[in-house]
């Protein structure tokens, strides 16, 4: 039986310290869309003073960026409260949802997202579509205007997808090039990441290799479950977590490394996800302790930089990297280590860009309002950057969209930190 995390709501003293850190409160400007407001609504719903339907708008619009947790003076477990609310509302809505919608949703989450083959097909389709110039024709002729605006927006900013031939040529083992490897690592490729940005995964592995690691990709790995978790599908998330834990247990390695802020956060939360299952907790802890973001490993090792990059850059940290993985210094350290670049700190960088899993697809209009706030900050910079650095595919696409919407696409590139590091090391995918 799914329950609201009532106990956790009681530790909120309603001091309001979370308000200025919350992107939805800052953007939509009402208490209902603040962490304090949401905690109160969950508490009220648990006490039967307000209905699930009445609180769903407030819960649905939360980005889950967890910035509020970092400033809470009483350590309220907001993540837990939010997850419980999403889960309860999902169950509640499932009962109300029309069968047709149910089918679409289950297809998306049970078949499409975790299925490598469909991912590949999608990836292949995208690659053919882009490489054959159809994209240009379609973009020019506005054929795509019949698509809903949100999908259409994303269509214009899709990164060049690696074709299947190139992707299938990617190695599954990047052996250390010198004597003994500093670390033996297994690489976590993710699903959306490996379709949309597979070249970044390739670059990541080559960087790790250059830094003295032995890198392996294991085929048994699967989706981390983050998007399922965001959508209240906790049982499915647990299944995916167990699958990953089992898969990686078969191998001997020092770290499991990823370049995906959001997935990294999910992989680190497996112990919390499986807290109630005694036979799994220990295994989850063991797995999560070894799971790290690529910046954590690279900041311990020397990188063979070969050229100086004459860029003015600004950095939009991933919320899940900052607030859940609590990795703030490592990515910054890596950025600062790149020869030649000039870093312009982004004002209010801690504010979420509005990507937040698939929030920007299902709640497009709200997401764009949040993105507009973010782009205001980019435009505030005294020196216009020519590169925006991200560490997560969701943020990456969203910031590209932001640049596009502001008409800056000609002058501002959006890249993953790994791409910048690889460029400075002369590594190509």
């Amino acid at each position: 039986m799914t329950e609201l995390a009532y106990q956790e709501t009681l530790s909120c003293v309603q001091c309001g310290y979370c308000l200025p850190t919350c992107p939805t409160y800052v953007t939509f400007q009402k208490e209902t869309h603040s962490p304090r407001g949401r905690i109160n609504l969950v508490k009220m719903a648990a006490e039967g003073k307000i209905t699930y339907d009445e609180i769903s708008d407030s819960i649905d619009l939360c980005l889950g960026c967890r910035a509020c947790e970092t400033v809470c003076p009483t350590n309220v477990q907001y993540g837990k409260i939010l997850e419980s609310a999403i889960e309860v509302l999902t169950v509640h809505k499932e009962q109300q949802m029309k069968n047709r919608m149910k089918t679409v949703k289950s297809l998306l989450f049970n078949q499409v997202v975790p299925n490598k083959n469909i991912q590949k097909v999608l990836g292949t389709g995208l690659a053919i579509y882009q490489q054959t110039g159809i994209q240009k024709v379609a973009q020019k002729t506005k054929i795509l205007n019949i698509l809903p605006e949100n999908l259409h927006s994303f269509e214009t900013i899709l990164p060049p997808i690696e074709g299947p031939i190139k992707r299938n040529k990617r190695k599954t083992h990047y052996a250390v090039q010198s004597q003994k490897p500093v670390f033996k690592v297994v690489f976590f490729v993710g699903c959306i990441m490996d379709t949309m940005f597979s070249s970044i995964n390739t670059l990541s592995m080559k960087l790790l290799q250059q830094a003295g690691c032995d890198v392996t990709v294991i085929k048994e790995q699967g989706c981390c479950g983050a998007l399922h978790q965001h959508s209240g599908l906790t049982d499915k998330t647990r299944q995916l977590a167990k699958r990953n834990i089992e898969a990686f247990e078969q191998y001997d390695f020092d770290f499991v490394v990823n370049s995906i802020g959001g997935c990294g956060a999910m992989l680190g939360e497996y112990p919390h996800l499986l807290a109630t299952e005694a036979d799994w907790v220990k295994r989850a802890i063991k797995f999560s302790e070894k799971s790290v973001d690529i910046s954590v490993i690279l900041s311990k090792l020397p990188l063979p930089f070969k050229k100086s990059l004459p860029y003015v850059i600004t950095y939009q940290p991933s919320c899940h990297m900052t607030n859940v993985q609590k990795r703030v210094n490592e990515p910054l350290h890596m950025i600062n280590s790149i020869p030649g670049i000039e870093l312009m700190p982004l004002p209010d960088a801690h504010m979420c860009c509005g990507s937040a899993g698939i929030y920007n697809i299902i709640r497009y209009n709200h997401s764009m309002k949040i993105l507009d706030e973010k782009m205001k900050h980019v435009k505030l910079l005294q020196q216009r950057p020519n590169v925006i650095v991200t560490t997560n595919p969701g943020c990456h696409l969203q910031m590209k969209l932001g640049v596009e919407r502001e008409g800056l696409a000609e002058t501002v590139r959006v890249v993953h930190l790994v791409e910048l590091l690889a460029e400075a090391c002369g590594i190509e995918a």
């Binding site: 003293v13 309001g16 209902t32 109160n40 609504l41 003073k49 307000i50 009445e54 009483t74």
Partner: protein
Amino acid sequence: MNQILQLLKQNIQDDARIFTEKADLVSYSFDASFGSYMPEYVVQPLTTEEVAAVIKLANTHKVPVYPRGQGTSLSGGPLPVRGGIVLDLSRWTSKLEIDAENMLAIVSPGVTAQAINDAALLHGLIYPPDPSSMNIATIGGNLAENSGGPKGLKYGVTKDYVIGLEVVTPEGNVIRTGGKTMKNVTGYDLTKLIVGSEGTLGVITEAILRLYPKPKATETLMAQFDDIVDAGRAISSILSAGIIPAKLEIMDKASVEAVEAYRPSGLPTNIDALILIELDGHPEAIKDEIKRVNDVCIKENARAVQIAQSKEEAAQLWQARKLVSPAIVRLKPTKISEDATVPRSKIPEMFQRLKEIREKYNVDLVVFGHAGDGNLHPNIIADERDAEEMRRVEKAVEEIFRTAIELGGTLSGEHGIGTLKAPFMEMELGAVGVDMMKRIKQAWDPNDILNPGKIFPEPNQRFVLTND
């Protein structure tokens, strides 16, 4: 659609700034104190005209109106205790002018003290009042409650920085009080009357605030004591030596223990008290003064004294004070934060009495706060689901109030009376004192529509700390 809603829609430019849905109303039913009361409407005005129009229609139709900032009040200031309209002024941040020549800031009510200070800093000035919620709470709320903060000792509190206001009266008229001059004795000082009146006499729609030159440097020191009475004596000796610290904070044994258990930083847990001192001013002057503070502490039997050698080290010393709140709520979820204040010389005695209260009612009580101005924060942690414990807590808090008044102090140093402390007003002010205040309220607000049910006790109102 009912008549009030219709009138609101006529007078507020944008319907998106009027809320009537249940989830929204619930979200404006509480603040950082106790209790939850449902309003019927929430309105977010952005101009003086809109505020005046809302109050006018409320006065005509006898609908209560409650001005609200960001809901950080610890005394129930914005709680809509009789239903009606919550006037959320937090969105009104449009005005933040710095008049550097006259060292003034002119602001709209939704701006935060932090934003005012940040804007002042660009001109080498500061806005000194620094309530710990300064980057959240609105200046309108600060003015209504006359907020304090750690810097009260040297710099005073919010009221010491206000020289002019624009106010909408309970009948919906707009008046200006004071002005842009430091000296102003034209008639009654309505500026000071409105400040601290908790939104019961008018809605502040603009304020003219004084700014100060930014001090050039700061020095920080921490001293540990085996006996809190020695700490109290050290504080008195520092001030008698003619040194006025910008901040002078104290933490008792229980708060030090809680912080060490929560995030160990090597503080000894067998000390009875520690004090944190920040001096600000000319670098040469405070270098000399911090040495003298150090000597005084040693003379008054401090076990250890540490002067911060860098900004980082200073931040580290203050860290302990910052961690008190999260440290104490780990034990139990409900936190009752009090601000009973006593004359500075009575601090050691107040600590002794608080110890006795802790034992007598068997409550989890820790004490920390602004020792320099006698504004202590006894904090009790409890579990609101434990009715028996909450009754003990209520009794303990009542006794804390009594003790503060007995020692020549006050019910509230900086949080305000609101709903929470109304039952004790007569204890401090006497029947005539309360009556004279009530007469002011009645003269200004004959229909009792502006933040009713605050400051003055309702008939038979008793002190409760529950959310039902």
